[in-house]
């Protein structure tokens, strides 16, 4: 396997774009990534496009807007982890020696795809009985409260932090200065989760260029080394699944640490899949930053704030930035690159060296989830 470098990133501002076709959102993100990497676009040898609901060969439809055609383009679906899955495939295209330059794209436009609320999938028995995604996480939060003494205020302070971080991020949809009280007064979605505990539905696109060492050296710039790319699926195991500790996240992170030759203590900050406030807690514990239940004291001590011991979701995360399913995983790389290059402006972490991105997606009954990806990146 060869060393792989992240050379360029791009993303649209996340938001609601019912009037903008996905091809245009995708084009803008790819264009920015190419400019950022400072490469000749005709040298791109392959592209991987992650999305959940954008129809057949969406990657080709995006890239034809820029005349980027005539090389292999592959479309990937892994629910909310589609973008991370695309990033991983572009990584392996370079790591395997097949390509010197590969492009990862994440795209999603939900507001011009679905009018009104989504109904349950006919094949999903639990959804047909009333299990919504927020309700599932609400039940995990209730269980966590029972086991560890978590309070609603702890959840709310994650929402306050992520909205505050997003305020300093010009690509975020939902930056806001809000208080714990305002979170607790926002509409109840599923007890104990309020509206501001949940990620907002959004649209957007993101892109990343992955290159070999040879290309990284030729181009110069500020390449970032991808130390590990791990992907796994939720295990079907008979018996009672632990709802407060994420095996899928933990296995994936351990595999990434092993490949990267680093441990959680070496990671300076992380972007994690905070689809709900409780999810941020489960994921930070799942990637081994602290022990089960310990996030309660971490929140109280401000350890996950931008200036804290382990900043979590400096971009604002899914809650503050928005969550256009397929675009999320690659957008995490945008933030990792910005932070490692010290280009994050008012949300800049103090000179970080190693960042971690965690993304997961999908629900399959009897398992903990469909897909989980962990990437570790380091500035050289």
């Amino acid at each position: 396997m060869r060393d792989v470098y992240l050379l360029g990133v791009g993303m649209t501002k996340f938001g609601k774009y019912p009037e903008i076709p996905i091809e245009h959102l995708g084009r803008n993100a790819v264009f920015e990534a190419i400019k950022d990497a400072n490469i000749n676009p005709v040298e791109i040898e392959s592209a991987y496009c992650g999305h959940a609901f954008q129809g057949s060969t969406a990657g080709q439809r995006v890239l034809v807007e820029l005349g980027l055609t005539g090389f292999p383009i592959t479309n990937l679906e892994n629910a909310c982890a589609s973008g991370s899955t695309a990033f991983r495939e572009a990584f392996y295209a370079v790591a395997s020696g097949r390509n010197d330059i590969s492009l990862a794209i994440g795209i999603e436009n939900l507001s011009n795809k679905f009018k009104g609320a989504l109904g349950p999938d006919e094949t999903d028995l639990e959804a047909k009985m009333g299990l919504t995604m927020p309700a599932l996480y609400a039940m995990r939060a209730k269980r966590y409260m029972y086991e560890f003494g978590l309070k609603k205020e702890h959840l709310a302070s994650i929402s306050v932090k992520n909205h505050k971080n997003a305020l300093e991020n010009d690509r975020a949809m939902f930056g806001a200065k809000i208080t714990i009280n305002e979170v607790l007064k926002s509409k109840m979605i599923a007890d104990p989760l309020h509206k501001y505990d949940c990620n907002p539905v959004s649209d957007g696109a993101s892109a990343a260029l992955l290159v070999s060492k040879k290309v990284a050296k030729q181009v110069g710039g500020r390449p970032i080394k991808v130390l590990a790319s791990a992907l796994t699926s939720g295990k079907y195991e008979p018996g009672f699944i632990n709802m407060t500790f994420e095996d899928i996240t933990n296995r994936c992170a351990l595999s990434a640490y092993k490949t990267a030759g680093v441990g959680p203590e070496d990671i300076d900050f992380a972007e994690v899949h905070d689809c709900f406030t409780i999810a941020e807690i489960l994921r930070v514990e799942g990637i081994g930053f602290c022990n089960p239940g310990e996030m309660i004291s971490w929140i109280e001590e401000g350890k996950t704030e931008i200036n804290g011991y382990k900043p979590i979701n400096p971009s604002g995360g899914l809650i503050g930035k928005g969550h256009p399913l397929g675009a999320t995983g690659v957008a995490q790389m945008f933030e990792i690159a910005r932070q490692l290059r010290n280009e994050a402006g008012d949300r800049q972490i103090n000179n970080p060296r190693i960042g971690l991105a965690h993304c997961r997606g999908g629900a399959v009954a009897g398992t903990e989830g469909a897909a989980c990806a962990v990437h570790i990146l380091m500035k050289e």
Partner: protein, 125 residues
Amino acid sequence: MTKLKLVKERNGNYVLNGNKCKVCNIVFFPKKEVCISCFSSNNLEEFGLENIGILHTYTIVHRSFPQFNTPYTIGYVDLLNSGVRVFAPIKDSAPDSLNIGDEMKIIFETDEKGQVNYYFVRKVE
């Protein structure tokens, strides 16, 4: 896709319709056609699940899919003999006073289309 039959009748009562691998001693609900442990389809036998369990967690849902009337309560109940966690709605006049660890009972109900549905209630001593 064939529709899963989640409920069956046994001695005039309804039970959750699972199956069990008699070699591996694992209960599946909904049924599986292949045991995930021995990877054989020959060792599976019919198994009706018990209708008593322990509330693992629950929530009161206030915003849902358009066709659902809110608020409603749902939860996961652990059937300790079968080793299966079951999801279903909870019917309770005071859901705010539910507690994790409560003993719950599965109740079966036939709807206007003749389909048998199930939900949980608190088991009252």
